[in-house]
């Protein structure tokens, strides 16, 4: 059956493959370590934003507490590695499972709230998590945890100076989140989640279980975010509550998806590709001197996009024609 949905999905898969191949080949022309580092962070955030998009974009539950899942993931893999010697390649999945479980635990009370009240609750829960870790000595408290270098190893995701292996690790992560979103768009779950986002009353009249849909979306979204946290911890080699659990991290995870286009397959990627380099470059060129000029530029960029393209940067492209997006 060659209808529009099937055709569009086939196209998206092809474009996805081309983009993946292009990103995989980026280190061939780009040898500069600073730029490589920038690309790694950008791709990592593309994956994180896609993970957020699963709950916030497709299911419409705006979470402003995703730093908690990110932080939990980074602590789980780090502590498993340091205290039990479990290599981060395995710890990564443990991080995903624990963060996903945390999302379920938090969703249980919070999904009884809807709309803005849910968003506010996630801010508060995120803040509680931050304070708990800050005062919990077993996990290093405010001092944080160092990950000592034990030699080059793929299993332990440790590399002395080379950025290249990490390029492929975060690329695999971002590709996994993209594939999850792609699969969702064509699956029973994804349809239910989008229905929940558009109209809860109509969705449940068609037999869609609202609470179960939100919980499943939260678990998947939180799980992926936790895996991203584990990768980040291993990449930077040091974590503390301020660097992985602070509230601004939640915004940083959500922003690329919002700016790029919520509930779209490409929005989080495009958003990350614009936002992360913009924030890094403005910080490195302007951050030192005129204290705050970088943030003014960054904020201005967000305002500009919000004014000119309220449906997100993705609407500049024609994958989903302009007429497909409701005029907010």
């Amino acid at each position: 059956m060659a209808n529009a949905i099937v055709k569009r999905r086939r196209q998206e898969l092809v474009v996805g493959g081309v983009v993946l191949a292009g990103l995989a080949l980026l280190p061939v022309p780009i040898k500069d370590v600073y730029t490589q580092n920038l690309i790694i962070i950008t791709v990592l955030f593309a994956g994180l934003a896609q993970a957020w998009n699963i709950l916030g974009g497709y299911c419409g539950q705006i979470s402003l507490g995703h730093a908690l899942y990110f932080g939990i993931g980074s602590y789980v893999s780090t502590l498993l590695y340091l205290k039990l010697g479990i290599p981060p390649t395995l710890g990564l999945f443990a991080a995903g499972i624990v963060a996903g479980a945390a999302a379920l635990l938090i969703g249980w009370p919070c999904f009884r709230l809807s709309g803005h009240y849910y968003a506010i609750a996630t801010v508060v829960v995120g803040e509680i998590g931050y304070l708990l870790f800050l005062n919990w000595d077993f996990v290093g408290g405010a001092t944080g945890v160092f990950i000592p270098f034990k030699g080059e190893s793929w299993a332990e995701l440790q590399f002395k100076t080379a950025k290249l292996p990490y390029h492929f690790v975060v690329l695999a992560f971002a590709a996994a989140t993209w594939l999850a979103a792609f699969w969702l768009e064509g699956s029973r779950w994804g349809f239910a989640w989008r229905a929940v986002k558009d109209d809860v009353v109509a969705a449940r009249s068609l037999g869609v279980n609202i609470f179960a849909s939100k919980m499943a979306a939260a678990a998947l979204s939180g799980g992926f975010t936790g895996m991203g946290g584990a990768l980040y911890a291993q990449y930077v080699g040091y974590i503390d509550p301020d660097s992985v659990l602070a509230g601004h991290f939640s915004i940083l995870i959500a922003l690329p998806a919002v700016l790029g286009g919520v509930g779209t397959l490409w929005g989080p990627l495009i958003g990350a590709a614009v936002l992360i380099p913009a924030s890094e470059l403005s910080r490195s060129y302007l951050g030192g001197s005129g204290r705050g000029v970088d943030l003014m530029l960054y904020g201005g960029l967000i305002v500009l996009v919000a004014l000119a393209r309220p449906q997100g940067l993705v609407s500049l492209f024609n994958w989903r024609r302009k007429s497909d997006v409701p005029a907010a």
């Binding site: 064509g186 349809f191 109209d199 109509a202 449940r204 009249s205 409701p326």
Partner: protein, 241 residues
């Protein structure tokens, strides 16, 4: 043959307002039943009770002898009750096909099967030309059709239509009436809420008239238009001959 739906002494209050008082009637298999009455008669409230959105304070509602009341809308949909809404509710970020697929997924787990079933129903409801259009861009009568298609996609035994023909032009209403007849011809039992009697009465075999939360009368269309109590409820005492 046993009735499809039995409503047994259903009462519901919202605060100090009695929306339904001791309502009892049966709905026969395959019939089109009208549920009429002036504004505030309790039609939508009763409707929501059948669809599971509202739990009656007392009394019960049975579908095929199984209790529906109190189960909630999700279980009611699974048992075979589908509905449309007085104020149209479409999934606006989704296309017509995607909207209907949400309903089709209730009976078909596999996406391809759900898509096939949804495509058939969209054709049946006359929305073929709109199948890949986003729902937000449809005209009001098309949105009504979309709601019917989405509801039918759940393969219901009982379809509840809430003021589906209200606010349409005469031509649009006429094609809506045809759609309702076609749906009934598929073997789906229909309850339709309307407050405009001239739309409902030619279409239905029987109608239940509600007024101030109570049943005023139940009867065929011909009986109802001649009933003085109905005329009084709609037009006031002066017109009751």
């Amino acid at each position: 043959m046993s009735p499809l739906l039995e409503i047994r002494s259903v009462s519901k209050r919202f605060g100090g307002v009695a929306a339904n008082i001791d309502i009892s009637f049966d709905v026969r298999r395959g019939e089109i039943l009208g549920l009429i009455g002036p504004n505030g008669a309790g039609k939508t409230s009763l409707f929501n009770a059948i669809a599971g959105e509202v739990t009656p304070d007392s009394g019960e509602i049975m579908l095929n002898g199984q209790r529906l009341s109190g189960l909630g809308p999700v279980a009611c949909a699974a048992l075979g009750v589908a509905r449309t809404f007085q104020v149209v509710r479409s999934f606006d970020t989704m296309t017509v096909l995607e909207n209907v697929m949400v309903g089709a997924f209730l009976r078909h787990r596999a996406p391809a099967a759900a898509m096939r079933a949804a495509t058939d129903i969209i054709g049946f409801c006359g929305l073929n030309g709109r199948i890949d259009r986003p729902a937000w861009g449809l005209s009001p009568p098309e949105k009504r059709r979309l709601e019917v298609a989405r509801a039918l996609a759940t393969e219901p035994q009982l379809l509840l239509l809430d003021e589906m023909l209200t606010g349409l032009t005469p031509t649009e209403a006429q094609s809506g009436v045809q759609l309702i007849r076609d749906v009934a011809a598929r073997g789906v039992t229909i309850i339709m809420v309307e407050h405009v009697m001239e739309i409902v009465l030619p279409l239905v075999e029987r109608a239940v008239v509600l007024n101030l939360g109570q049943i005023l009368t139940i009867g065929t269309s011909a009986e109802i238009v001649r009933n003085p109590a109905v005329i009084r409820a709609y037009l006031g005492d002066r017109y009751a001959a």
